[in-house]
């Protein structure tokens, strides 16, 4: 239909479907579009211009290829009402008219073009006819030219051959002339110092002379040449030996000498010897920098000098050597490697000496930078001379230095810890401010903990420089693996924590004899410190380390729990030791007070003895001290008013008093029976039992030790009546004040009961004091 002309190309109308196989493509594209649209959630409505694929074979499609007017009409008539039929008819008529007018316009517009095209074609026909004639003429002319040229070359053939021959002779003559002139040229070159030129001439002539040496004239030339060449070689050698000029010139000399056919072996030896001389000079200057009394430049400068002087020299030598003596094969390479190895080891020795000087110093960043330079510099010769193992050796040195640094830091940390301890000691020993404690223990503890932590962090940070990305050796396997895990984590951090625990423990092991050098407060503080480490600090530090040094090594590391257990054990031992020391102090007081007094001839007690008040005061002080660092802890449930408890032992001691005078063999059964029965119902008291981490447990331990001492001392004495009463008073006083410190007050009662009972047994005249009187005295005291 006409519609095909009006809307050419695919996609011009919704219904049109171009013919042939192309029809498939847009169809497919549309389908794809449809899927995309579906995907992007566009409704079909928005694509209203493209109603979903009408069947291209539909015979009722007006624009379709298979349009069948009969079917269409039939369909219209059948389906549409009259009004619509009329509408479609008018519509159809209008469309047909529009198409007709469009066709007309097209024809008018293109009419002129058709005419001019016809003219052009006609003109072209004429032109072609002219050209054909000219081409024919050209062909005949060419044939004539070919004929002439053939004739000429035939005539010249003979002469050409002769010229060629003459040219050959000429060249030969020039060569001969060169040969004859060679000696003088060589001499001139040598005189002028143009050794390169001379060697080139000599090289060119040598083969010829060699070939024709049986001819006497050539022999003469050859001899001359050899003399000159020898002189040349000599001069070259001379220059080579003088050696003052740098490596490149030397290399040139050697190259020339080689070209002169000097023995390579010998040259190579000599070359190396010269290079050695120069490099040794470099080394000497480096050594001078080391100096016995250094105004020595810092490490960085030193390694810079080494790098630019020695290492680059070595590089040049190696490069030149490899270039010159490549023909020498593996033997030559081996020689060079040995050379480099020897000098390299001397260089390394110097570097190590210098680094050793640095070992004590604090600035890690400078050192790391110096090492970085050193290592980086050596990579070039390392690549050149893989066999000499320079890069490996350099890495080794760096590793060693890193290890030493770790050791140095560990020592630093230990020293810092000891320093902290000394500070604490001084703070503790410093004369107290009137009345108040000087610096609070808690404050001291915080100071110590924070200062240690900051030291650890500083060490970690400075050690971390070794693994920084921009440092050339940080990607070596050692620095990625072992350095992080074994070196830093195990060696430095774990090592430090362990040594800290050990140092702390050594305070327990040091015999606490004669008062012990360690102030008890320090023990307490260390114990708390270790406990804090156990609960938080260790895991914090290790996490920090693991984060900073991404440990990739698979080698086993100490788990946090082990360290924590060690720290806890240390804390426990320290606290136990603290209890022992403090217990000992009070024990000694009690022991002296019992041992030095004459209990037989003492007067009737009026007061509590001063030493008991002192004991209570000291215990209170200890309570305060421990309270600063440790939590309260748990007590057993108490009776409503413990202080008012009367001594149960009074009754028993009174009974004993009744039995005691009858010293008959059968009597002791009763007295002993009583105390034994009593003991049956009381638990055994472990005097030096392990302590828990709280105040009550600590105080309980100290009081147990003190009271047990009192008990044992009382048993060694003999008491008069008033002596016994004094013990009674003292014990009651202690009971009044000590119960509040302990976990189980029953314990204090038991021990004090024992003391009074023992005193009663040790008294030939056991008349106890009335409890009311005892109470009055105690309350008054």
């Amino acid at each position: 239909m006409a519609a095909a002309a009006a809307g050419p190309g695919p996609g011009s109308g919704p219904g049109d479907s171009p013919e042939g196989p192309e029809a498939e493509a847009p169809e497919r594209r549309r389908k794809a579009h449809g899927m995309l649209k579906l995907y992007y959630g566009l409704s079909e409505g928005e694509a209203a211009g493209h109603p979903a694929g009408p069947d291209p074979l539909d015979p009722t499609d007006l624009n379709g290829a298979h349009f069948d007017p009969e079917v269409y009409l039939d369909k219209l008539r059948r389906e549409c009402p009259l009004a619509q039929l009329m509408d479609s008819e008018t519509d159809m008529v209008r469309q047909i008219r529009a198409l007709d007018s469009d066709m007309q316009t097209l024809v008018y517009e293109n009419y002129n073009k058709f005419i001019s095209a016809t003219d052009t074609i006609r003109k072209m026909k004429n032109d072609f006819r002219k050209m054909e004639d000219e081409m024919d003429r050209l062909a005949t002319n060419m044939a004539v030219i070919t004929e002439f040229s053939a004739r000429i070359s035939a005539t010249l053939q003979d002469r050409h051959e002769r010229i060629t021959k003459l040219a050959g002779v000429h060249a030969l003559l020039r060569k001969l002339q060169f040969l004859f002139e060679l000696p003088s040229r060589l001499t001139k070159c040598v005189e002028l110092g143009a050794y390169g030129q001379a060697v080139r001439y000599q090289g060119r002539a040598r083969a010829v002379l060699q070939q024709y040496q049986h001819l006497p004239s050539f022999r003469a030339i050859q001899d001359d040449c050899q003399v000159i060449t020898a002189r040349l070689a000599q001069q070259l050698r001379q220059r080579f030996r003088e050696g003052g000029s740098g490596a490149p010139e030397q290399a040139e000399c050697v190259e020339l000498l080689l070209a002169l056919g000097e023995p390579a072996e010998e040259l190579c030896e000599e070359f190396l010897a010269h290079a050695r001389g120069r490099l040794e000079e470099e080394l000497r200057s480096l050594e001078a920098e080391l100096g016995p009394s250094p105004p020595a430049p810092d490490v960085l400068e030193f390694t810079d000098h080494g790098g630019s002087g020695f290492v680059s020299g070595l590089c040049q030598v190696a490069a030149a050597y490899q270039e010159l003596f490549a023909a020498q094969g593996p033997a030559g390479a081996e020689k060079l490697a040995a050379f480099a190895r020897e000098l390299g080891s001397r260089y390394f020795a110097l570097v190590e000496r210098r680094l050793a000087q640095e070992q004590g110093g604090g600035d890690n960043s400078l050192l790391v930078r110096a090492l970085d330079r050193f290592h980086r510099r050596l990579r070039a010769p390392g690549a050149l001379l893989a066999a000499a193992g320079l890069a490996e050796a350099a890495t080794e040195i760096v590793e060693r230095v890193a290890r030493e640094r770790l050791g140095h830091h560990l020592q630093g940390l230990q020293a810092a810890f000891l320093g902290c301890l000394t500070d604490v000691r001084q703070a503790l020993a410093a004369p107290r401010m009137a009345g108040k404690e000087g610096p609070g223990l808690a404050e001291l503890l915080a100071n110590v903990a924070s200062s240690i932590l900051s030291h650890i962090k500083a060490s970690l940070a400075s050690v971390h420089l070794f693994t920084a990305k921009e440092v050339s050796f940080s990607n070596k396997p050692y620095f990625r693996g072992e350095f992080c895990s074994q070196g830093v984590r195990e060696g430095l951090i774990v090592g430090f924590i362990r040594s800290m625990c050990q140092t702390a423990q050594s305070f327990c092991d040091s015999p606490g004899e004669k008062g012990g050098a360690t102030p008890p407060a320090l023990l307490l503080l260390l114990s708390r410190l270790c406990l804090d480490y156990e609960t938080a600090t260790i895991s914090y530090i290790l996490t920090l380390t693991d984060e900073q040094f991404l440990v990739q090594d698979q080698s086993p590391v100490t788990p946090v729990s082990t360290l924590c257990a060690e720290a806890r054990e240390t804390a426990r031992r320290l606290l136990t030791h603290y209890v022992k020391v403090q217990g000992l102090v009070i024990s000694q007081m009690l022991r002296k007070s019992v041992e030095t007094r004459d209990w037989l001839s003492t007067l009737e007690p009026r007061n509590v003895r001063a030493v008991m008040k002192r004991v209570v005061e000291d215990t209170t002080a200890i309570d305060v001290q421990v309270g600063l660092l440790y939590e309260e802890g748990v007590r057993k449930a108490q009776s409503s008013d413990s202080s008012k408890r009367t001594f149960s032992v009074y009754s028993s001691s009174r009974q004993q008093g009744r039995y005691a005078p009858s010293y008959t063999p059968s009597a002791p059964m009763d007295t002993n029976l009583l105390s034994n029965i009593q003991k049956l119902f009381s638990e055994r008291i472990d005097v030096f039992s392990p302590v828990e981490f709280n105040k009550v447990s600590v105080l309980t331990g100290i009081i147990k030790i003190s009271l047990k001492t009192l008990l044992e001392c009382v048993r060694l004495r003999t008491f008069g009546r008033f002596g016994l009463q004094q013990v009674q008073v003292d014990c009651h006083f202690l009971q009044l004040y000590l119960w509040r410190f302990v976990a189980d007050e029953e314990l204090v009662h038991l021990l004090l009961d024992e003391v009074v009972a023992s005193a009663a047994l040790r008294c030939p005249d056991p008349v106890p004091m009335e409890p009311s009187v005892v109470e009055v005295i105690c309350e008054r005291g």
Binding site: E513, L600, S601, P668, N672, N676, V687, R715, T718, P764
Partner: protein, 359 residues
């Protein structure tokens, strides 16, 4: 079999001789009266089993003075002398006083030790800060002061205990005062060694290794037992810390010196096996087998691995502080301990260990 270690028994001022019949497991006792005062230390003469020395308190003019005397038991009660009929009601016998070991100006006697070998005529007593060597003459009825030495120093120095070494021809006595242990040569009465600060606190008891002449055990208020080589006194050879309170007594077994007995005021008695510092540290060596053909009497030990020092047993029969422990002099596998409440406990070394040592 009997146990002839006489023991103090409480306030009654009696000496009880306790016979232990091992075969029948029967204990019988005889009571001797000690009228002069309460006994603080007792030691039997190794030469004459009827003779013993005591240190006792005498209260006079409201002063307590500790004196020492040598006594003889009534002949019929001498241990092993005869079988006295089991009669609990038999009247107590009195001791026969041989002599006093007193010296007017010497103060309280803490301890009397007999010369461990020889005729039994020599006794050392420790009074305050003096070491007094007595010769007992006329079968003990007269004591003459042979020589003496005294400890000088600041403060009130007081000996607490002493032991007479069975080695070196019985010429050495060790004493303890406060935290120090000192050795004396009885020939010149001069000090031969001194272990300052042997213990953190008071030293309570000493004992010599019966088989190794330079080895000495000490115990004290720091709850430790230490073993010393008297040739090098800067460091103890070994330290035990098994007790939780003062250790009052330490004793080597008389024949198997790896067995060490300690008693403490934590009411425990601990039997330790100190193999590493005993005279038989590794049992018998292989080449001893040849010798054993000649000396068949000697029991063989065939322990494969070197034995370790260890605590063999802890005895907790006592309810109160244990103040004395000792081995039976007749049966090396038997020992007794005595506590404050007057309980005497007799124990045997565990059978397994006994066979281990013997076989």
């Amino acid at each position: 079999m009997e146990d002839d270690a006489p023991v103090i028994y409480g306030l009654e001022f009696q000496i009880h001789i306790i016979d232990f019949d091992d075969e029948n497991n029967i204990i019988s006792k005889n009571v001797l009266l000690h009228q002069v005062g309460e006994i603080w230390h007792i030691s039997a003469s190794p030469a004459d089993r009827g003779v013993l020395a005591t240190c006792y308190n005498r209260t006079a003019d409201s002063k307590v003075l500790t004196c020492a005397a040598v006594w003889r038991m009534p002949a019929e009660l001498e241990p092993g002398g005869h079988e006295s009929p089991e009669d609990a009601a038999s009247p107590a016998h009195a001791l026969e006083l041989l002599c006093h070991l007193d010296h007017a100006a010497r103060g309280s006697t803490a301890c009397v030790v007999w010369e461990p070998a020889g005729p039994g005529g020599r006794v050392v007593s420790l009074a305050d800060n003096h070491v007094l060597l007595w010769d007992l003459q006329e079968s003990g009825s007269r004591a003459a002061l042979a020589s003496s030495a005294s400890l000088e120093g600041k403060g009130q120095l007081k000996f607490t205990t002493g032991r007479w070494s069975p080695h070196h021809n019985c010429t050495q006595v060790a004493t303890a005062n406060d935290t120090a242990v000192r050795g004396w040569d009885t020939r010149t009465m001069s000090q031969i060694y001194c272990i300052e600060n042997a213990h953190g606190q008071l030293v309570r008891d000493l004992d010599f290794n019966p088989n190794k002449q330079y080895y000495l055990a000490s115990c004290g208020d720091d709850c430790r037992v230490k073993f010393w080589d008297t040739r090098n006194v800067s460091e103890p050879v070994k330290t035990l810390e098994e007790h939780s309170h003062w250790v009052w007594s330490v004793r080597y077994n008389h024949s198997h010196d790896q067995l060490v007995l300690t008693g403490s005021s934590d009411s425990r008695v601990v039997l330790s096996n100190m193999v590493s510092i005993s005279s038989e540290p590794f049992g018998h060596l292989a080449d001893d087998d040849d010798l054993s053909d000649q000396e068949e009497r000697r029991p063989e030990e065939k322990s494969q691995e070197p034995p370790q020092d260890s605590v063999i047993a802890t005895y907790e029969e006592h309810e109160d502080s244990v103040y004395a422990v000792d081995w039976s002099s007749a049966d090396p596998w038997l020992f007794a301990s005595l506590s404050y409440d007057g309980r005497l406990v007799i124990n045997r070394v565990p059978r397994a260990l006994k066979y281990h040592i013997l076989l």
